[in-house]
Symmetry: C2
Subunit: 347 residues, 2 copies
């Protein structure tokens, strides 16, 4: 199991969640199941149980849904059905993202497509996305008010669709040199924030919130946290410990806020140097140090740090706008801090 | 528009459906929308309206849902919300299938991935799948009984998941020489039959059927028809008019029932010849005539023709088992005939 535990949750909650995930994914005799179980970290490429500690899985999306429900006065357990669905949707999207970005490694192991080929990975991701939705149908049993069911179903699919919009921008921006920091942050909120926003929204729905403006406020909170998290990862990939999985985006020339800022605000010499590095088909990992130094000299690192703080402030304002104050806000901001992990990312 | 009109439907119904599809997909300001509209045949690669008659689109999945509802006594219009979702799910799966199979052409135009690249195509397919589900949420408005809503939602996602299982087999079988005809037909029912089974099930749900065994019977009808349709396409690709889009599966060495049969039942010489042709990475289109002659000489063509007839009989028995007799059965069997199009395929 992972190391992060969001506020309001105990190790027991996370273990309950893990049991439910395993039971649900194992409930169907699917030939696709082995790839899904591999993605979830339970088995190795041969379908044998993974060694303890081999794969760290935090289940952050599920935890966020459960912690949100808890912050709003419901029990974390009552949100498990909602939490399962967003966690599975997250992993389904990772399976596809790894094909799209050409990532060979994730969580210290070969990715699904690198192991079974792109065709099987695309298909397994589709199957996993269908499983994500089917997992939510437990709430169709009549025990939940009808409007809560509708809100949950739409929250899940809206989050998935919104993530696709962010991913579209991320891919489209890959071959562009000029991009504004605003465009970058919009992409990051969509790509990394949509499913976190879905998690907070599902947690709130589980806790009985039905007012649309309140639900939208808590979704906005999740989206801002997601954007902040992405910027934190951008900092990590340039100035953190050098490892393959944090640098995949850089190598495939996915945009990084520090570099976007440097190209937007640097002088002509710096822009030309970064431009030359970025004209290569893929970025040589050996050049990352040079890119980092150039971005730093143009103020890219400082801008990222300020952006993280700014996005966390915006997340807090979204909570206030939704009427979440006091202890509720405190617990949710605790989630925000854990998810952004600014301290750890900056080493 | 297309040429096929399933029993019980008028041109007006198909136009209503098309209007609803356009309105629904156009209802969100999505950067992904252009790729979706291209896949649906409405625009060209630049987003300009496609020329009239440029792309033939039959909307067979939607038509089947509406015709099924009509056969069971409901109006086709009452099934439109259900029909939209399965049609969009079908196109979402085509977008991914074209990446998985490396198809460069579909309906006489370059495929989405061939136009925008695999990363954007994978992502656009994901977005379209989310839109398929969101389109079904129109029935969450309270106008439909709760159990009907649950049944419809599960029918859609079960069909999508089941299709992934069939696709998994299709990809896994690609590099295998030996395969039984039973294994082939199981794959075909999953890969091609799942969404048609989803269409018949959704049509029945729209018409008010709630009994699970009856719903499963009509789904089985759709699955059998799908398998028959796949076998018809297999015949077409070997003995029909030679064109790229019908031969994509052959070229990428996806299994074909006639060849599976020939390898299972042919003599050693024939098996060796087919084996040599199939040892190539992709099959040379110029060799298809030779493959067809070899398969024919081993009885592969006759076996396919018999299989189509047998599957249509099984489809009819599924209807009888579900209690669909008389006019209901006659209309549904009319759908089956149109979908399998044996006559035209063997043209």
């Amino acid at each position: 199991m992972g190391e992060v535990l969001l506020p309001g949750l105990t190790q027991d909650h996370v273990e309950q969640l893990e049991d439910r995930l395993r039971t649900f994914l194992g409930s169907r005799e699917l030939p696709l199941y082995r790839m899904m179980a591999y993605q979830m970290g339970w088995v190795d490429q041969n379908g044998e149980p993974a060694m303890a500690g081999e794969v760290r899985h935090e289940r952050l999306h599920a935890q966020l849904a459960m912690s949100t429900a808890s912050a709003l006065g419901a029990s974390p357990e009552s949100a498990i059905d909602f939490a399962l669905s967003i966690e599975l949707a997250h992993h389904a999207s990772l399976v596809h993202e790894d094909v799209e970005d050409g990532n060979t490694d994730r969580a210290g192991r070969p990715t699904v497509w690198w192991t079974w080929g792109p065709a099987q990975a695309i298909n397994a991701g589709d199957g996993m996305q269908a499983m994500a939705r089917l997992s939510l149908f437990a709430i169709l049993d009549g025990s939940q008010p009808r409007e809560r069911v509708s809100a949950a179903l739409e929250a899940l699919d809206d989050a998935v669709l919104s993530r696709c919009e962010g991913e579209y921008l991320d891919i489209a921006y890959q071959e562009r040199l000029t991009l504004s920091t605003e465009q970058y942050l919009e992409m990051a909120a969509g790509r990394t924030g949509s499913l976190l926003g879905g998690a907070t929204m599902l947690g709130a729905v589980a806790a009985g919130v039905v007012d649309k403006s309140v639900l939208h406020a808590i979704r906005e909170f999740g989206r801002k946290i997601g954007a902040a998290r992405q910027v934190g990862l951008d900092i990590e990939s340039l100035w953190g410990e050098r490892d393959v999985s944090s640098q995949g985006r850089l190598i495939s020339k996915k945009k990084n806020l520090a570099i976007v800022y440097a190209i937007e605000h640097g002088d002509a010499t710096l822009r030309r140097k970064l431009g030359e590095l970025y004209m290569q088909r893929v970025l040589d990992p050996g050049m990352i140090g040079e890119v980092a130094a150039l971005a730093d000299s143009a103020g890219g690192r400082d801008f990222c740090l300020k952006s993280v703080t700014g996005l966390i402030d915006e997340a807090q304002r979204a909570l206030s706008a939704g009427g979440f104050e006091g202890n509720q806000q405190a617990q949710l901001m605790g989630c925000a801090a854990a998810l952004v992990e600014v301290g750890r990312n900056l080493g």
